[in-house]
Each structure stands twice: as C-alpha cells, then as structure tokens.
C-alpha cells in the first residue's frame, strides 16, 4: 500500500495554438500523501487547472512522470486512463458538470452504473450518501431545479460514491456564495476525515486555502511554496 496518493516528477506541459506556445506547467515535482486535504492556489494562468487535469488523466503532460494510485499515467492508454478515473479518482468541477437530463440521484449514481453495480444497490448507496451530505429529499430534482450549492454537493456525491482514493476538485467553491462554500467545505472535510479519501483542490478562494491542511502555491507553472503548516495544525488539533 502506497503512503502517497500521487507523485509528480518534473511535469511539463505547453499548449500550442499555431505558432504560439503557452507554457502551462514548467517542471512541477510534487508528492501528495494518502489522506491529505490539500489545495493548490495561484493566480489565473498559474497552471492549477492544468495540473489537476493532468493528475486526473483528463489531459496529458508533455514530459515528466505522474503516478496516481500506483500507476504511471504517462504510459496508460486512453481506455486505461478512463478505467483508472472510474475506479480510483473522483472529480468535482467548478461548473458542477452534472448531466441536465438526469435527476440528482441519477447523476450521483452514474459512476456506479459505469462500474456495473445493480440498480437497487446503487440507489441505496446514493440515498445513504445524500442523507449524510444534506441532500435527502432532493433525489428526483434535475440540476436546474437545484441551487448552486446543492448542485455542487450532488457533484461531490457523484465523486464520493465510488469510494475513490483521490478526489480532485477544480475551484469547487468558485460559483458558490460564502455560506454554500462553507457548507461544501464542511462536507468535504468531514468525508476526508471519516473515509480517509485524499482531496486535492485548485482554488483562489481564501476560505478554501484557510481550510486546506496543505497549501501549494503555483505561479507561472511552477511550485513557488508548499506550506504544510495547516496540516500540522490539523494534526495537533
């Protein structure tokens, strides 16, 4: 069993549009331990989202090694990456990315459906999780009938329901009001504590930075600081 959830070694990524080259990551080396509640922060264009996309296998690095759940993502095929995402990684997106034609429950159970779990088990599992994170009674509502905070909690449920080793959350509070953001962070921190799931956020929300147990700052595609003080505070507490 690995004591780390993910490892990055000299990861580089450059976006090319015709003759224009935009370096997004310039040699990021990073290790996130299993069970950490960490955040990457930095201004727009610092490479936060690119980093999360590469860790989640949604995008590929140009060079470097990315190890997630014991597998080197650089050598996996797109099918193998999809399998890894389904089994080991949960995603929470800034814009929720729920499927509008599905109800909250159907959205949350979608990943379980892909895993081949029978309908009754899926429903039971999602309903249990919904009641834990304050979504009980909203199962049959479609995304447009939910508030931003509720939609993001459905997205968290969708990410959590498969019990992944790692959850990647790309600016999860960016579209939420302050109260909804705090409620969402409470839910995620509680899940981190009770299940030991590793959380890695990208954010420029001070509330998230404050709550993260480890804060990794990025600028121009490079790690400029890695503050684990919050982690020590949390561990002492």
């Amino acid at each position: 069993m690995n004591e780390w959830a993910l490892k990055l070694k000299d990861v580089r990524k450059t976006y090319r549009t015709g003759p224009i080259e935009v370096p997004a990551l310039r040699g990021v080396t990073l290790t996130i331990g299993a069970g950490e509640f960490a955040a990457t922060a930095g201004p727009s264009g610092s490479g936060k989202t690119t980093l999360l996309n590469i860790i989640g296998g949604l995008d590929r690095a140009d060079t470097g090694d990315i190890w997630v759940a014991g597998q080197n993502l650089q050598v996996l095929s797109s099918g193998e990456l999809a399998h890894l995402r389904l089994q080991r990684i949960g995603f929470v997106f800034q814009t929720y990315n729920l499927l509008p034609v599905l109800t909250a429950l159907e959205n949350a159970e979608f990943t379980l459906l892909l895993q081949g779990m029978p309908a009754r088990e899926r429903r039971e599992k999602v309903e249990k999780l919904f009641s834990q994170i304050g979504l009980a009674g909203l199962e049959d509502r479609r995304p447009k009938e939910l508030s931003g905070g509720q939609q993001q909690r459905v997205a968290v449920a969708r990410a959590m329901v498969t019990e992944p080793a790692l959850i990647l959350a790309d600016e999860p509070t960016a579209n939420l009001d302050s109260a909804s953001a705090i409620a969402l962070l409470d839910v995620m921190e509680q899940l981190n504590r009770t299940t030991g799931t590793t959380f890695l956020f990208s954010t420029h929300d001070p509330q998230v930075m404050e709550r993260a147990h480890r804060l990794i700052r990025l600028r121009d595609g490079q790690v400029v600081s890695d503050d684990t003080r919050n982690s020590q505070v949390a561990a002492v507490a």
Partner: protein
C-alpha cells in the same frame, strides 16, 4: 422490343432505388452526426467520469441501430398499410382515361400492387446494414471527444 422496354424499366428501377438508398443513408448520417455533435458535453462528462472510448463508440452505434429499428418499424407499418390498400382496392386508372383505355393498352385498368416478403427483407437488411456502417464514423467521432475541452459548459 418489349424485352428492351422491360429491361430499361428494370434498370431505371435500380437507379431510383439507388438514389433513394443514398438519400436514406445521408439522412441517417446527418441525424446521427448531429446527435453526436449536440451531445459533446454529455460525452465529455461521461468520459471524464470513466466511460471508455470504446464503450462510448458502442453506445453510439447501439443508439443508432435502435433509432433505425424504430424508424423501420414505423416505416413498415405505414408502408404496409398503403400497400394493403392498393393490394385490395387497387389503383383505378379509369378516372384518368375517362373515355376508356386506348385500344393499344391491353391491361387491367385497375392496378393491384404486389409486394414479396423477399423484397421487404432485402430492403430492411440493406437499410440496417447501411445504418450500421454509417454509424461507425459518428461513433469514432464520439470516442475521440477531446478532454478536457468537451467539459466546458455550453
């Protein structure tokens, strides 16, 4: 002479069938391709959550075949109803030739349609095979859905 006329008639029939099948094929391709393009976001989310490209392609082909099967069923129901009417009541040409048929024409003024089971099976098989082959391209396009670009909210 008559054999030549009949031969020409058959050839014309084949050409017309070919044109109709080409139109049907283009219609199927357009429908499936538009559905795939419209659902880029949905496919992107599904892929991000763990749906494999191969599964996505199979899903598109499967949906296309289901759509084709439903369309064929509706088309057959409508077509067979019309065929049944003309097979029993016939197409009465006497209203065209009010004064009676010209003496050179020696056929029954009421034409009854005939449709063989072989012809139905052949047509259905051709359309189904065509839909299957045509759906491969949209399925390939769906499987190639770019991540993370496809996740951008519309």
């Amino acid at each position: 002479m008559l054999a030549q006329i009949l031969g020409l008639d058959h050839a014309f029939n084949y050409i017309m069938n070919g044109v109709i099948l080409a139109m049907v094929g283009l219609g199927i391709l357009n429908t499936i391709l538009m559905r795939v393009l419209e659902r880029r976001y949905e496919f992107g989310v599904s892929k991000a959550l763990g749906l494999k490209p191969r599964q996505l392609a199979i899903m598109v082909v499967g949906e296309s075949l289901a759509l084709t099967a439903i369309s064929l069923a509706l088309g057959l129901a409508l077509g067979l109803s019309v065929q049944h009417y003309f097979a029993t009541a016939g197409l009465d040409l006497r209203w065209v030739f009010k004064t009676g048929l010209p003496p050179a024409l020696v056929f029954d003024p009421i034409l009854y349609s005939r449709l063989s089971v072989e012809r139905i099976v052949w047509s259905v098989s051709i359309v189904f095979a065509m839909a299957t082959i045509i759906s491969f391209y949209p399925a390939f396009k769906a499987a190639q859905t770019d991540l993370p670009d496809a996740l951008k909210v519309l």
